[in-house]
Every structure is written in structure tokens, then in C-alpha cells.
């Protein structure tokens, strides 16, 4: 631990804490005027050090709390939220009153829900019963002073090399508490989170690193800074890359970007119930290479494991692609009921969205091949470190578009040779995964967009035949 100004910083512990959260939720819900009532609390206390050029430009300490109450009156349900324990009473009253209003108006009943299942995931010394790490003392000790020192090192070394560095080092403690009055169940867990990311530019060369974990030691942050600096230097002098189809090795970050789309492609209970998407239209099909297994697995010791969701349901390992074969979908209590299954513990509620089940800790299972071995298997192709701004073009065909970014290199005779410029690509994710013939051994994790406590984790992949460049359309051609 570094010499941080301890007199004015807050200890690294949950914003609310398990005992206080449980007491507050139980007390507030006890006499609420509702037939059924439950609530969850999320807390997040984070220290985030952003830097660029030659300065730390955002040194931030952020505490956030959200409490969401779900009240049911005569089968109608309503939600209300508060940002503090002090606001909980009003949230209970608002949710109860709104549900009653629905009942009095005779609105349709809320969607029926599957049983939440047993509470069987006790936390033991920072690990869940399944063995997934929740609490890292190393992360608790990885304080702002260390973040600043790492940032300083990255910026100074980049500067000496004639470049610039920008990035963020951060740690957080995330907590979730849940209480269901009628069932008499309460759950609580707190988890650490360490994040690091860095972009280094030297002349026209650049490289990027990003990783997150419950354990700061696993980030190997200092080594990652050094590697990123070296890669940025090696990526100088980029040559144009002709559009075409290439054998590619995707770095772990580029491969992980594919995982962000599994919700959009129909691996959710909502999509399956509607008859839409891959799981609905291609059940059991061999959609990807048998080397590819993609799971939503919050019980694994990778990414951001967590024992239960906001409905108090214990999370389980859900295979989307089991050795390439289309397998299961993630569910919450509502979609599980509709499908006649048990919830997988994937209930989520985000801003400006209706609550629904989504993938939350997506993992592409690693194999035992090194990245160098994957590269060695390419006679002529391209190494792509990461993608940028990928978006769904066609969810039915699992088509996405995006651009390649940072350290991209030509591969010739099994070796990285020259850096190449970025290219746009528009490809089908599942068709690309069908052409995987090598899976790497070392994974990186990155946040899932707009998902609380969400992460995508992947190792490098080798894909045969990956189209780079927009469709060749000569200027002046009349459509």
C-alpha cells in the first residue's frame, strides 16, 4: 500500500454494509401495505484515476446507492427506487401505492414468476460455495496512491518514447442486498473490483490494454503497462491494408467484443419465448466451431462473478454455445416461468430500459494454446488487437460492424511482421466463430456495456477467413 492521504479518504469498504442493509430493508418492508413486497439494494464505492498526456485529469471517488422496491397488490406490481436508506420509506410507499392503483383500475396482472429457488450460495472468506473469488484483499490495498504511481510511470515512459499515454486505474467495492418479506429470505454479498486500461500512442503506432478482475494482482498492471508501451512502439509505421478476406488472430480484447452481442442474438429467455433469435430458431445446431464454448457463468472465477441476481436467485453456469452447439438462454423469474424452467439468475434493470434477463458474466472458455502458437498457424493473415465501436447490423444473421484499432499487424509465415492501418469490417459473429480453429489460453476481461457488474472474458482466437474492409464500391457507380 502506498502513502495515501489516509486522513481524508474513506476506508475501502461497502457503502452500506450487510448488517445495515439487511436491517433497513427488513424494517422498511415489514409493515408495507402490499400483498407481496421485496427489495434489492446495490451499492458501489469506487476510486477511479484517469490520466492523459502528462496529468491525472480526473481523480474521482464515487459512492452510489440504489434501492429498488417491488410491491405487489392483487397481482399487480410496481417498482420504486431511492438513492439512500433515508429514501427507502418513500420508495416503499410509492411502489405500494402504484401497485394498488393498478389493481383498482383492473389492469392486467404482472407476468407470473418462477420460484426463485433455494438460497444455497453462502459466502466463505470472500469466496462463494462454487469457489468464485468475490473479495480480494489485494484490491482493497490497491489504493489511489498506487494508481497515480502507475499512471505516472505510463505517462513518463510514453513521453520518453516520444508518445502519449492515457488510461484509467480504479478499484471499487460492489454490494447487493436482497430481501423478500413473504418468503423471509435475505441475501447479501460484497465484492471487490479492480480495473486497468491504457492506450499508448507513439507516432502512428498505438496499443491498448484493458482488464478487470475481483483481484488487482491478477491484472498484472505493471507488466501490462510495459507491454503496451512496447507494442505501441512496434506498431509504428503502419501500412495500408487492402480490403479482403484474411486469416486472423484476434487478441483477447477483440475476441471479447464478440461476447457483448449474445443478448442481441437471442440467447435470452425473452427472445426464446418470442420465437426470435439463434436459440429459438437454431436449437441444438452446430453454430460455431467445436472449439468454441461461450457461457454466461457468474460462478466462474473470471470476470466479475457474483452469487445471486436482483431477484435473489442463485446464479448458475449457462452455456450459450456448448462446444459450438446452440444450448441455453439466460432467464429471470418471469421468462423462466414463460419457458417452464428455473431462473438462471440473470434479472437486470438498467436506465431507460424495461427490466429483462440479460447475459452478465459472459466467458469464452480458454484452451491451452499460446497466442504465439495461434499466430504461428497463419501463413498470411492479420493480428487484430481490438475492435472499436462495434454495433449490431442484423441480429438474425448475427452481423456486426466496427473498425479495428491500435496494434494490428500483418502475419507472414507464422510471424508478426509489419503494422497495418485500421479497417472497417462487417461480419457475422456466429459465422466467424464457426471458422475458429484455435483458442488461446490467456483471457482478458472487459466491462459489458450498460450492465451493472457485467463483464465479458475471452482468450485470443484464430479465425480462418475474416472479411476486412467495406464492400468494394467504386466511386461514381450508380445504384
Amino acid at each position: 500500500m502506498s502513502d495515501t492521504d489516509s486522513t481524508t479518504t474513506t476506508a475501502f469498504r461497502p457503502v452500506v454494509g450487510g448488517e445495515r442493509a439487511a436491517e433497513a430493508l427488513e424494517a422498511a418492508l415489514r409493515d408495507a401495505p402490499a400483498d407481496r413486497i421485496e427489495a434489492f439494494l446495490t451499492g458501489r464505492r469506487g476510486d477511479f484515476t484517469r490520466f492523459a498526456g502528462r496529468r491525472v485529469h480526473q481523480s474521482q471517488a464515487i459512492d452510489e446507492v440504489q434501492i429498488m422496491v417491488r410491491a405487489e397488490v392483487d397481482g399487480r406490481a410496481s417498482l420504486a427506487a431511492a438513492s439512500s436508506i433515508a429514501g427507502l420509506g418513500r420508495a416503499v410507499a410509492n411502489a405500494s401505492a402504484a401497485a394498488r392503483e393498478q389493481a383498482e383500475r383492473g389492469l392486467p396482472a404482472a407476468a407470473p414468476r418462477a420460484d426463485p429457488g433455494p438460497v444455497d450460495e453462502p459466502e466463505v472468506s470472500g469466496r462463494t460455495a462454487s469457489g468464485a473469488l468475490l473479495w480480494g484483499e489485494d484490491t482493497a490495498a490497491w489504493d489511489v496512491g498506487e494508481h497515480v504511481a502507475l499512471a505516472d510511470r505510463a505517462m513518463s515512459e510514453a513521453d520518453r518514447a516520444g508518445g502519449v499515454a492515457a488510461g484509467m486505474f480504479g478499484r471499487a467495492v460492489t454490494e447487493v442486498a436482497f430481501h423478500d418479506r413473504e418468503r423471509g429470505t435475505s441475501r447479501y454479498a460484497a465484492a471487490t473490483e479492480a480495473q486497468g486500461s491504457l492506450t499508448v500512442r507513439i507516432e502512428d503506432g498505438s496499443s491498448h490494454w484493458k482488464d478487470l478482475s475481483r483481484s488487482s494482482d491478477r491484472l498484472l498492471a505493471a507488466e501490462s503497462v510495459e507491454r503496451t508501451l512496447a507494442e505501441a512502439s512496434a506498431a509504428r509505421g503502419r501500412a495500408p491494408l487492402a480490403p479482403g478476406e484474411y486469416d486472423v488472430v484476434l487478441g483477447a480484447l477483440a475476441a471479447g467484443e464478440f461476447l457483448d452481442f449474445f443478448g442481441a442474438f437471442g440467447f435470452t429467455g425473452g427472445a426464446l419465448a418470442s420465437g426470435f433469435g439463434t436459440a429459438a430458431t437454431r436449437p441444438g445446431e452446430q453454430a460455431a466451431s467445436s472449439l468454441v464454448s461461450v457461457h454466461d457463468d457468474a460462478t466462474a472465477d473470471l470476470g466479475l462473478p457474483f452469487p445471486f441476481d436482483f431477484q435473489g436467485t442463485t446464479k448458475r453456469d449457462v452455456p450459450f454455445l456448448d462446444q459450438g452447439r446452440v444450448a441455453e438462454v439466460v432467464t429471470d423469474r418471469e421468462t423462466a416461468f414463460a419457458l417452464g424452467t428455473a431462473s438462471s439468475g440473470n434479472f437486470h434493470i438498467a436506465r431507460e430500459e424495461a427490466p429483462h434477463a440479460i447475459p452478465m458474466n459472459v466467458i469464452l472458455r480458454a484452451a491451452d494454446t499460446t497466442e504465439l502458437d495461434l499466430i504461428a498457424g497463419v501463413e498470411r493473415g492479420v493480428y487484430l488487437q481490438r475492435f472499436w465501436y462495434t454495433r449490431t447490423v442484423d441480429p438474425v444473421r448475427s452481423t456486426i460492424t466496427g473498425v479495428t484499432r491500435d496494434a494490428c499487424f500483418l502475419i507472414e509465415n507464422g510471424r508478426i511482421t509489419r503494422p497495418v492501418e485500421s479497417q472497417r469490417f462487417t461480419v457475422s459473429v456466429l459465422e466467424s466463430l464457426a471458422r475458429v480453429d484455435g483458442v488461446g489460453s490467456v483471457s482478458l476481461s472487459q466491462p459489458l456495456m450498460n450492465v451493472f457488474n457485467g463483464a465479458a472474458t475471452a482468450p485470443p482466437l484464430r479465425i480462418r477467413g475474416f472479411a476486412l474492409g467495406t464492400a468494394p464500391v467504386p466511386k461514381g457507380t450508380t445504384a
Binding site: T4, T8, T9, T10, F48, R50, F51, A52, G53, R55, Q58, S59, Q60, A61, I62, D63, E64, V65, Q66, S78, L79, A80, A82, S83, S84, A86, A91, A98, Q102, R105, L107, A110, A111, V144, G145, V148, A151, D152, M155, S197, R201, F276, E334, R351, E352, E353, A354, Y389, V396, V403, R405, S422, R424, T426, N450, A471, V473, K475, G476, A479
Partner: protein, 508 residues
């Protein structure tokens, strides 16, 4: 918009709409802010500001698969920013009791001290700004929070029923939302500002499946509908049920519509798609914090350099783009940004030449210009960063029909389906929900799967004409930026725009 010495009396309906919650009283909020700032009045602190914000939202969603999802959300907290010895620190806490306010101030100061440990740091010198105090309140006719739950729920049900009437519509969602905020700001330069904002919005989204494809239609905008800084009168004016019926039918029609072609074509882009084009390739490209490299690791940079003002030809002479948060009614409307800079109308691009950047006080100081007032934050929890305000493509003249006649043969496209642009905001590719053939100036067949791409300067230099103000539409949008990621809410608008020689059909 008002300032301290020109506070306008609120109309009766306004006063009632803004009299809610714990921070409605400006004087009480001012006392709290003064307490916060006093906690960081220590040697070495050259500047500090504090934001005390209370927000409440009501959201209703309904989908085909589930019943009504109704939410009421309330949050209240404080964010404090400190400049110590030229280094920034920030901290935020939700308000549970009075002690928390001082805690945030002390943590912000500690963070600034930690940032100051970077050796050889480039220290921020913030040019002093004269104190600006005042009060602003959204002008509303109908308080959305006074609308009965039964009225909201009935409308939502009607929208969903209309949208999902065709059997081919397998997924449909309707939504209604309203938000009210008290945003109080004070800084150590003596500014004390109070903004009381109200928003209302609605959305409908359908997906139809058949013929081996899925087609989406939406209204009034692609992703989250549209939210205006206005009262319930805005929602009533959208005629949501009628529009929901239309998009349901159009989604079905798209299932069997011919696939849009590949090649190069002349195109009229409708206001909703132009709003996103502006957002991605103009708003983001002109954010000065990106241009200076602060966002290189996350949001990206810009192909535009800090010396572009007055010299870089960004678009054709038909391209005039302004930042104007003083225009009321969209999510980018305000009187003071989150650094207390008064809102003002500023030309960003005049006749195709760059005239200004979107800036914060920090970024503007680094290139020696005053901030235009584009520092925004997602509530009390996050430090202000540079987000767009209301960034509009200024209208030209003439109706859409006249523009189509000028087009001759080509396409009319609108409503975004997919979007992607590189980190320098240069190479883009967009898909739209709808495209219509235009032959001899007349709109014809509906086509599916339309996409177009290119580079930002190439696109904007190919703009030949923009329709008149009578065709102008503005849209409120969310935008993600920062680490940790925060949402900014802003406004973009345009009239239909004629672009020549556009590459189309690039996603196949």
C-alpha cells in the same frame, strides 16, 4: 433563462410543477452548498465547485411478453470538485444526512492531493470567471407528475395495442417517461445557480419477423424514443397511438420490401438519422477534451486538431452547425452548464468552416479561449465532462418535396438502425430503418436494409442543400462518455438534408 438580477416570476403552473422534493427551496440549497465549499477552503485550493442535485423519474414500459413495468425513481446527492495546486479531485455521495456533504468535500480534496503527486504534472490554470448567479425553470404547460397514473397507463396500453396489431409483430415495446430535477450549483468564485428542469417523453418500438428476416420500426426516434424538456403537452402532441399503428404496419411491409441496393447514390437524409449523423461525426468530433487527448483511452479522439478553428473546411457551404442550449425544449437545453458557465448560442461550423469547439473551462483554458459552456454530468455522482449541448444543423430553405424535386432520382432515408464510427470520428457506417426510392422527385417504393458509409469530411462536403425551418425536428438523446461511464443528455436536430454521391449498401 434568467440571471440573478433578472429573475422572471414563474407562471402559476410552473411554480406548482417545480414545488416538489427536498431541494425545491433555493435558499436552503444555497446554505448547503456554502457549507460544502467551506470544507475545502484551505491553502492550495484555487477553485472548487459543488453540485447538489435531486432527481425523480417516473417510467412506464409495456411489452408483448410482460405486463406493465412501472417505476418511480428518486435520487439525491452531492458532487464536489476541487482544484488543488493545479490538480483536480472529485468526490460524490448520496445524501443520507448532513455529514455526508462534508465527507464528499474532504474526499475530493484528498483525491486532488493524490493527483498532485504526479511528477512534472501539467497543472491546470483556470482563468477566473466573474460570478454568475441565477435561476432557470423549464416552462411547462402540463406538469407530467400531475397526470394521473390511470391516464398514463391507459395511453401506454393503447400505444402497445396499436403497435402490435399485425400478427407479424412479435416484439413490441411502448414507454412513457417523465423526469424532474433540482440542480443547484455554487463555486468559490461566488456563482450560485438554481435550475429546475422537467422532461417528458415517449417511445414505441416494434420488431416484425417473417420471410427470413426481422425488421424494426420505431417512433419518435430509434432507441429510447424522444424526450423533450417540456411538460406532458409534448407527449400529447406526439399522437403516439396513431404513430404506433403506422410503425407496426411499416415493420410488416419491410419484411417483403426489396433489399436496398449497393453503389453510389444521391440521398435525402431525414431529421432523425441526421440527428445521429450530427451527434457522431460533428458533436463528438468537436469535443475539445477529445481533441486534446483526455478521452483517448475511452471515448476516443478526433480527426480535427486544436488549430482547426477558422481554417479547416469541414463541410460544404450549406453546412452551418450551432451549439445552442438556450433554445428551450430539448434535453440539451439549460441556462448554466455543470461548471456554471452561462448557456449561449455559438457557431461551431459556418458555411463549412470550423468556428468553435464544444468546450469545458479546463479544455478551453488549455488552448486559451473561453469555454462555450458544454460541461455536463450525469447528476451529482459524476464529474462534468464535455458533452454536446443542443447541436443543430441550421435549416436552409424549402420544403421536403422541393428538396426531393432537386434530388431527382435517389433515396429518402430515416431512423437509425445501426451505427458505427471510428475513434477519430472519421470513418462511419450507418444503417437506417427505412428507405424510399425517389424517382423524378416523387417518393416511391419502400426498401429494407439500407446502409451508407464514408468519411466525415467527405460526407459533409457532399451536402448540397438543407430543407427549411418548417421541416426542422430536434431529438433528445443519451450519450455515454467517461470512466466510469456516465450518461449525458443532449439535443440534436436538422431538417431533411440532400447529400450527393453517397456510398450505399456497405454492410453486405
Amino acid at each position: 433563462m434568467t440571471s440573478a438580477d433578472t429573475v422572471a416570476p414563474l407562471a402559476a403552473v410552473d411554480a406548482a410543477a417545480h414545488a416538489w422534493g427536498e431541494l425545491a427551496d433555493d435558499q436552503a440549497a444555497a446554505t448547503m452548498l456554502t457549507t460544502v465549499l467551506a470544507a475545502v477552503d484551505v491553502p492550495g485550493v484555487s477553485y472548487a465547485d459543488a453540485r447538489l442535485i435531486e432527481a425523480e423519474e417516473v417510467r412506464l414500459y409495456s411489452t408483448l411478453e410482460s405486463g406493465l413495468d412501472e417505476r418511480i425513481e428518486h435520487n439525491l446527492g452531492v458532487g464536489v470538485r476541487v482544484l488543488f495546486n493545479g490538480s483536480w479531485g472529485f468526490a460524490s455521495v448520496p445524501i443520507d444526512d448532513d455529514d455526508d456533504l462534508t465527507l464528499a468535500a474532504h474526499r475530493a480534496l484528498a483525491n486532488a492531493r493524490n493527483a498532485d503527486r504526479v511528477s512534472d504534472a501539467h497543472r491546470t490554470e483556470l482563468p477566473p470567471m466573474p460570478p454568475v448567479s441565477g435561476r432557470y425553470a423549464t416552462d411547462v404547460v402540463l406538469d407530467p407528475f400531475a397526470v394521473s397514473a390511470s391516464t398514463r397507463q391507459a395511453l401506454l396500453g393503447d400505444i402497445l395495442s396499436a403497435a402490435s396489431a399485425p400478427v407479424e409483430v412479435v416484439m413490441a415495446q411502448a414507454g412513457l417517461n417523465a423526469k424532474r430535477q433540482h440542480r443547484h450549483f455554487a463555486n468559490t468564485e461566488g456563482s450560485m445557480q438554481h435550475q429546475h428542469l422537467i422532461e417528458s417523453g415517449a417511445m414505441a418500438l416494434v420488431n416484425a419477423v417473417g420471410n427470413g428476416t426481422m425488421q424494426r420500426r420505431s417512433f419518435p426516434n430509434s432507441f429510447h424514443g424522444n424526450t423533450a424538456q417540456a411538460g406532458w403537452e409534448y407527449v400529447e402532441g406526439l399522437r403516439m397511438v396513431e404513430e404506433a399503428d403506422r410503425i407496426g404496419r411499416e415493420a410488416v411491409e419491410l419484411l417483403t420490401a426489396p433489399l436496398a441496393p449497393q453503389g453510389t447514390a444521391d440521398v435525402i437524409i431525414g431529421p432523425a438519422q441526421m440527428a445521429l449523423q450530427i451527434h457522431e461525426s460533428t458533436g463528438h468530433a468537436l469535443e475539445l477534451d477529445r481533441i486534446l487527448g483526455d478521452e483517448a483511452n475511452y471515448a476516443g479522439t478526433s480527426f480535427i486538431g486544436p488549430d482547426a478553428v477558422g481554417s479547416l473546411r469541414y463541410g460544404s457551404e450549406a453546412v452551418n452547425i450551432t451549439s445552442d442550449p438556450t433554445v428551450p425544449g430539448t434535453r440539451g437545453s439549460f441556462a448554466f452548464d455543470d461548471e456554471g458557465v452561462p448557456a449561449s448560442r455559438q457557431p461551431l461550423i459556418s458555411e463549412g468552416i470550423i468556428r468553435n469547439f464544444l468546450s469545458t473551462r479546463d479544455s478551453a483554458a488549455r488552448i486559451g479561449v473561453p469555454s462555450i459552456g458544454a460541461a455536463r454530468s450525469d447528476g451529482w455522482g459524476y464529474t462534468p465532462v464535455c458533452f454536446a449541448t443542443n447541436v443543430f444543423l441550421e435549416p436552409g430553405s424549402g420544403s421536403t418535396e422541393e428538396l426531393q424535386e432537386r434530388l431527382g432520382d435517389g433515396y429518402y432515408i430515416d431512423d437509425n438502425r445501426s451505427w458505427s464510427i471510428d475513434e477519430r470520428r472519421h470513418n462511419f457506417q450507418f444503417g437506417t430503418e427505412v428507405a424510399y426510392e425517389v424517382k423524378h422527385g416523387r417518393r416511391g417504393r419502400l426498401l429494407r436494409g439500407f446502409s451508407y458509409g464514408g468519411t466525415t469530411p467527405e460526407f459533409w462536403q457532399s451536402v448540397e442543400a438543407v430543407a427549411g425551418p418548417e421541416e426542422f425536428k430536434a431529438f433528445g438523446m443519451p450519450c455515454g462518455k467517461g470512466e466510469p461511464k456516465q450518461w449525458g443528455f443532449l439535443g440534436h436536430g436538422a431538417s431533411p438534408t440532400l447529400v450527393r454521391n453517397l456510398r450505399i449498401g456497405v454492410d453486405r
